[in-house]
Amino acid sequence: MIIGLFNDWVVVVLMMIGLYIVIAHGNLIKKIVGLAIFQTSVFILYISMANVEGGSAPILAEGIKQFSNPLPHVLILTAIVVGVATTALGLALVVRIKEAYGSIEEEDIQHLDNKTQDETEIQATEGDQS
């Protein structure tokens, strides 16, 4: 039972590791890495569902009667491209955040944002009184 569902277990474990990193880590780059692991687990989910017992790779050749379902492979090719684009965009954003804030720790950024928020509000109330 457990061995038969080996791929599914790997998928679930990877998925949870990925999600945990995204939620628990404050470092923006680690979050992106977690997101990539999370997406990869879904790729494995698709690829393992394409497998047909005793089937070969989906290539047309003599003597091959049974082969894996090629459609999920194609779908995941698209999803991988999307995943790479997301990771690239995320990392580019982190570079810009580092330039603007001088930090890539979530805590620091939130602290700096709260400070700007307070300043604008103080200005606003002073403006109201004058």
Binding site: Q39, L93, I109, A124, G127
Partner: protein, 492 residues
């Protein structure tokens, strides 16, 4: 040519995007994007006409037959959504050049239009396609360009907002991908019509329940249903004004379309609302969303934040309409999709005009603005009245249908809560009215002039639509109720 309209709807903005790169001159790129968006609008009008007279259009991509190839399927619901998206996009683009001159550095103007067109492509694609995996691809096209567009904002907080949206959005999209994968595993098909026929056979399996949960949570992340709304307020507040006006009117609407499509068409009404407790869940989350978001809106000092929270509350009304799972309720939902797009794009464009003149949208800067920018402020007031649901505006029409649907069901306590929620809207709109008309300008503020013409034209176009469709509801109501009836399988 006419038979290729469903694909042209998506291809025109997609092809226009790289051409922008060749044009280089900012003004030229603007005119070209406006042209492309206007063509998309004309196509959507033609599609709607065709669907209303002769029924569902099915287009086979590359000539491959439906369950194997990708099918573009335009029914009344799709055509209605296509019309809303392309119309708002075109009107908002009129003001784009004037607005981004102030808000975005010159060398990034071309990039802005490319991203805008790609985002438009993604949204139109999600709505036109009849293939579940294709939905995911278009969703990511529109989302990736949305993250980049939001990051173009002036304030550095735009970067942080964009990053948070990227994390949440990607998790949402990946959830949808998991859901689609599990459905494929059970049925061996990705075509939505085919799925809807094959899913009932395997409906009582745990895999299908899981697939349903993943898809619904993923879509709800995208549509910012309370409590999955946390990415929205900052993303809307710090993005460039044009981007906010476009997204506030269309992005969440596309997600709501997906929700309707998956619950009604793919999984089927009885499975979504009766077998699984979606009805109670939607009602509860919708109502909580209305109250939490409206109360939060009252305490905001940044006016873009006020209306961003109000958007979350409006999503709440839409979801409550959906939770009734009756034809009237669904009609109210679809009407509110259309009407909310009109109100929010008008309001956010007017706020864009305020940013153009003042450089910020803090509530204190609005003091005395009613005299200095009378036309812009009048637009915000009319838009606000429409949000509250005052008669003669579109907001009234959709609230009226929502209340009718609730009373039909006998849910009168919910109806009372909806009315109370509208009172909260009165408070946050009043704060802006008070500042603009009853407070004196700050001592050190410089008097400003009325917004430029390129802002006033689209703003008042939308405001006129707000009033016109509030009085003459024939077009919007006819299409919305026809779409609702066809989703319930009743022939109109």
């Amino acid at each position: 040519m006419i038979s290729h309209l469903p694909i042209l709807q998506v291809i025109v903005p997609l092809m226009a995007a790289p051409i922008c790169l060749l044009l280089k001159r900012s003004q030229l790129v603007w005119l070209f994007s406006l042209f492309a968006s206007a063509i998309a609008f004309i196509i959507s009008v033609l599609l709607l006409q065709q669907v209303m007279t002769s029924g569902v259009i099915s287009y086979e991509l590359g000539g491959w037959e439906a369950p194997w190839g990708i099918e573009y399927r335009i029914d009344k619901l799709n055509a209605f959504l296509l019309l809303i998206i392309s119309a708002i996009s075109t009107v908002v683009l009129i003001a784009a050049q004037t607005s981004i001159e102030k808000e975005i550095p010159k060398e990034k103007h071309t990039l802005f239009y490319i991203l805008y067109l790609l985002s438009l492509t993604g949204m139109l694609g999600i709505v036109s396609t009849g293939d579940a995996f294709n939905v995911f691809v278009f969703l990511e096209i529109s989302s990736l360009s949305a993250y980049a567009l939001i990051a173009l904002g002036q304030d550095r907080r735009a970067l942080w907002a964009s990053y948070q949206y990227l994390i949440m959005g990607t998790i949402g999209a990946t959830f949808i991908l998991i859901g689609i994968g599990l459905m494929y595993q059970m049925t061996g098909t990705l075509n939505m019509q085919d799925l809807s026929q094959r899913l009932p056979e395997v409906a009582q399996t745990r895999t299908v329940f899981t697939a349903f949960a993943f898809v619904i949570v993923g879509v709800c992340l995208k549509l910012a249903l309370f409590p999955l709304h946390l990415w929205l307020p900052n993303a809307y507040a710090y993005a460039p004004s044009i981007v906010t006006a476009f997204f506030a009117a269309t992005a969440t609407k596309v997600a709501i379309y997906l929700l309707i499509r998956f619950t009604f068409t793919v999984f089927g009404l009885s499975f979504s609302f009766t077998t699984l407790p979606l009805q109670g869940l939607f009602l509860l989350l919708g109502l909580t969303g209305i109250f939490v978001a409206s109360s939060a809106a009252i305490y905001q000092n940044n006016v873009k934040h006020v209306f961003a929270y109000s958007s979350i509350a409006q999503v709440g009304y839409i979801i409550v309409g959906l939770s009734t799972s009756t034809i009237t309720g669904l009609t109210a939902t679809l009407l509110h999709l259309f009407n909310h797009a009109l109100m929010k794009s008008a309001i956010f464009l007017a706020l864009g005009a305020v940013v153009y003149r003042l450089g910020n949208v803090q509530l204190s800067s609005f003091n005395g603005l009613g005299r200095q920018m009378p036309l812009t402020m009048a637009a915000i007031v009319i838009g606000g009245l429409s949000l509250i649901g005052v008669p003669l505006t579109v907001g009234f029409v959709s609230k009226w249908y929502l209340l009718t649907a609730l009373l039909e069901k006998g849910w009168w306590p919910v109806a009372i809560l909806i009315l109370l929620g509208s009172l909260l809207a009165v408070i946050y709109v009043w704060r802006i009215v008070e500042a603009a008309y009853f407070k004196k300008p700050l001592a050190d503020s410089v008097p400003v002039k009325e917004a430029p013409l390129f802002f006033l034209i689209p703003i008042w176009l939308l405001i006129t639509a707000n009033i016109y469709f509030g009085i003459d509801t024939r077009l919007s109501l006819q299409v919305a109720s026809a779409a609702a009836q066809s989703l319930f399988g009743v022939s109109p």
